[in-house]
């Protein structure tokens, strides 16, 4: 039985948007010329390849289903009413593809490629006595990046963090784009009282420091919601859809604090576009206001949306790690690099040092944020050279 989280829609929508842009750049037009510009930049294309790899991991981790519970004779187990019973655990395609890594637990820490546990424990020696030894691993050499305190594979944990980062980095902007466009265009195009109201709202919201607003929101709402782990019937799940998804709330709240910049940009651009000759001309021809906005204004602010999207991506990924570190990010059961950093903080003071948990989260995060920064710059330069010096 499939299980679809609220944040899965973000990933699916993002996949749809990528397909849409892939088609759009094949036609002639502004998108195609920007794409040619980006294609010339070989570094940016290499970064795009890395980003595509991350995204495919996130996509694989967003398609999940629950296995049916089988009776001993191999037939689907059913309740007395005849309803099929499914396992409480929903596994994604990523979980299934790396089943070995997911299921191969050890007792506690072990170094990368190690054959023995990292700490000594009491084991029975061949001569019948007990002594303190480094016990052999159940799966020697199988953990490429070692295991963490509870014996989970670190490489797998780091891969589970990819989806969280992609959802936060991309989903946050996606959620708020419709609102930012609507308010920005309305304020810029109609002006007057509407403009004053919209400006007042976003100035007030922008006045509250982002991180404190997020803290307040998460403190107030973030205590409930699906945080990863087992699916419980009833409160959390509504059939196949799980709407109360803590990660979704986090993306929404980050969005509320970050839509003001985009809204301000769109309002300014609309003010400028409104006075251009072709808009004036279509007004003279009697095109209705919604018609002008739909046909002439909105397409011409979309480049701002795209630029904001790519430039905010890396900042949001970094912010998620910090919020998870403070303890107001995603729940502890949800894979997140912030959680990994949080866990690994004390490990550095152990002797000898447990370094692989921190290193893994560092490599995975850096590997996403650096290409995102470089590719973001390339997109911005291609779409709007005037913004280059911001």
């Amino acid at each position: 039985m499939p299980v679809i989280l609220a944040t899965d829609f973000i990933v699916f929508f993002l996949a749809g948007a990528i397909v849409y842009f892939a088609i759009a750049v094949r036609k002639d037009g502004a998108a195609a010329s920007a794409w040619r510009e980006i294609r010339k930049n070989r570094l940016a294309m290499a970064c795009l390849a890395v980003l595509a790899l991350y995204f495919s991991v996130a996509l694989l981790d967003s398609i999940r289903y629950r296995d049916p519970v089988l009776r001993e004779d191999g037939v689907q187990a059913r309740t007395e009413k005849g309803e099929a019973i499914y396992s409480a655990q929903s596994l994604s395609l990523l979980d299934r593809a790396f089943e070995g890594m997911r299921a191969n637990h050890e007792k506690t820490y072990s170094a990368p490629f190690a054959k023995h546990l990292f700490v000594k424990e009491n084991v029975e020696l061949p001569d019948g006595t007990t002594g303190r030894e480094y016990a052999p691993l159940k799966h020697p050499g199988a953990h490429w990046l070692g295991t963490d305190k509870v014996g989970d594979d670190v490489l797998f944990n780091a891969m589970k963090g990819v989806r969280t980062a992609v959802v936060i980095g991309a989903g946050t902007t996606l959620i708020i784009v419709p609102f930012a466009i609507f308010f920005g265009v309305v304020a810029g195009y109609f002006g007057g009282v509407l403009d004053d109201i919209v400006q007042y709202i976003y100035t007030t919201l922008a006045s509250i420091p982002g991180v404190l607003l997020i803290v307040a929101f998460m403190l107030l709402f973030g205590t409930s919601g699906y945080q990863g782990g087992l699916i419980s019937e009833g409160r959390l799940s509504l059939g196949v859809f799980v709407w109360n998804d803590r990660l979704f709330w986090l993306a929404l709240i980050l969005g509320i604090t970050s839509w003001t910049d985009l809204c301000r940009l769109i309002r300014g651009e609309t003010l400028k576009l409104r006075e251009l000759e072709y808009v004036q001309a279509s007004r003279a021809f009697g095109v209705s206001r919604p018609g002008i906005i739909y046909r002439h204004i909105v397409p011409n602010v979309m480049h701002l949306v795209l630029i904001t999207f790519v430039l905010q991506f890396s900042a949001l990924v970094l912010a998620e790690a910090i919020l998870s570190y403070i303890g107001i990010g995603v729940g502890p059961q949800m894979g997140s690099w912030g959680n990994m950093i949080n866990n690994s903080r004390l490990e550095l003071s152990m002797d000898p040092v447990v370094w692989w948990n921190l290193t893994a989260s560092f490599i995975f995060m850096f590997g996403l944020v650096l290409p995102a920064n470089i590719f973001g710059d390339a997109v911005r330069d291609a779409l709007d050279p005037r913004l280059r010096y911001r």
């Binding site: 919201l205 006045s207 509250i208 307040a216 570190y325 950093i341 944020v369 920064n373």
Partner: protein, 326 residues
């Protein structure tokens, strides 16, 4: 000038009121005092009587915004909003929910620890960033510039958490140059402050250098700079005497607005280094779910931001006479 400042401050009044109402809505309406009591008391101790007790002890037992039971003006004044949120307007923060401490008093004492870290970090970071940015602009389009920008992008792609953890580990634990964390009063605090200040500077260097470099480059391509070169000035003189002055406007926007936040310090840095400033105060309040403190800090942060904006606007008029008082 004076009338401009007054008008600018008056313009901030509706925004301050808006922030006040918004925080009150969040903390008293969306999340009611009942929810607060439930969160603070914990699952086990929740009984209707316990909730009422907690609300009475902490002054949340009034209606949120309108008290229909009281006559006249008391309809408005005998509410949680008027008792708890309106006093924030004159910086009366009230008492915390957990330990019943005076929040205003706490802010005034903890402020100094935050300032001890944030002021040196801020001054040093801005100078270092400006220095490197000017160096890259001076050597623009050479390998120094190209690799400098690459390095800046790499540095800004690393989470500040890694800078802090890595700095503590390498400088504090391996090299034993500084104590890993802690704080002391007076001059003894210096040995505890050096490490967080160094890390604060390094964490800000990537984004800062890149931003200031683009600001300088934009100035360097302008006509007056070409004129200055044409009359035979050296490149260094052109850059430091002419371009720097004009580049101050975008630099000011970036710098002045963050000055008021020096009081509140850094959330992350202070918790990592166990510095008893306002940043760690906020984090502790988050962990102990002390809503009164979080609400006060949200409000204080907003006020400081608004003050920063006003200061930015005023500093514009000081550095750029072309900015009219409109």
């Amino acid at each position: 000038m004076l009338s401009y400042i007054i008008r600018r401050i008056l313009y901030a009044v509706p925004i301050i009121i808006g922030v006040n109402v918004l925080t009150a809505l969040l903390f008293f309406y969306v999340n009611t005092p009942d929810d607060m009591a439930r969160q603070v008391l914990g699952e086990k101790n929740v009984t209707p009587a316990a909730i009422e007790n907690w609300k009475r002890d902490h002054g949340y037992d009034l209606p949120a915004f309108v008290n229909t039971e009281e006559p006249g003006i008391k309809k408005v004044t005998e509410t949680v909003f008027f008792q708890k949120s309106v006093p924030l307007l004159w910086f009366d923060f009230g008492r915390s929910d957990r330990n019943n401490i005076d929040i205003g008093q706490e802010i005034r004492t903890r402020m100094w620890a935050s300032l001890a870290i944030s002021v040196p970090t801020f001054i040093a970071a801005v100078s270092v960033n400006l220095f490197f940015a000017m160096m890259l602009a001076y050597y623009r389009a050479t390998y120094i510039d190209i690799w400098g920008v690459v390095l800046a992008v790499i540095l800004m792609s690393i989470s500040s958490l890694f800078y802090i953890i890595g700095g503590q580990f390498i400088l504090g634990k391996l090299l034993k140059l500084f104590p890993i964390s802690g704080y002391d009063a007076g001059l003894h605090s210096i040995k505890f402050l050096v490490l967080p200040i160094i890390i604060g500077i390094i964490a800000a260097i990537g984004g800062g250098v890149r931003f200031y470099r683009t600001v300088f480059l934009e100035e360097i391509n302008k006509d007056y700079v070409r004129t200055a070169r044409a009359k035979g000035l050296t490149e260094g003189r052109v850059l430091f005497k002419h371009a720097l002055k004009n580049a101050m406007i975008p630099v000011l926007t970036n710098v002045v607005v963050s000055i008021p936040f020096l009081f509140t310090g850094s959330l992350i840095l202070e918790t990592f280094f166990a510095i008893p400033g306002l940043g760690s105060f906020t984090i502790n309040a988050i962990h102990s779910q002390d809503f009164a403190i979080v609400r006060s800090m949200v409000y204080l942060g907003s006020i400081l931001y608004i003050i920063g904006l006003i200061m930015t606007d005023i500093s514009y008029t000081l550095v750029d006479p072309r900015v009219r008082f409109e």
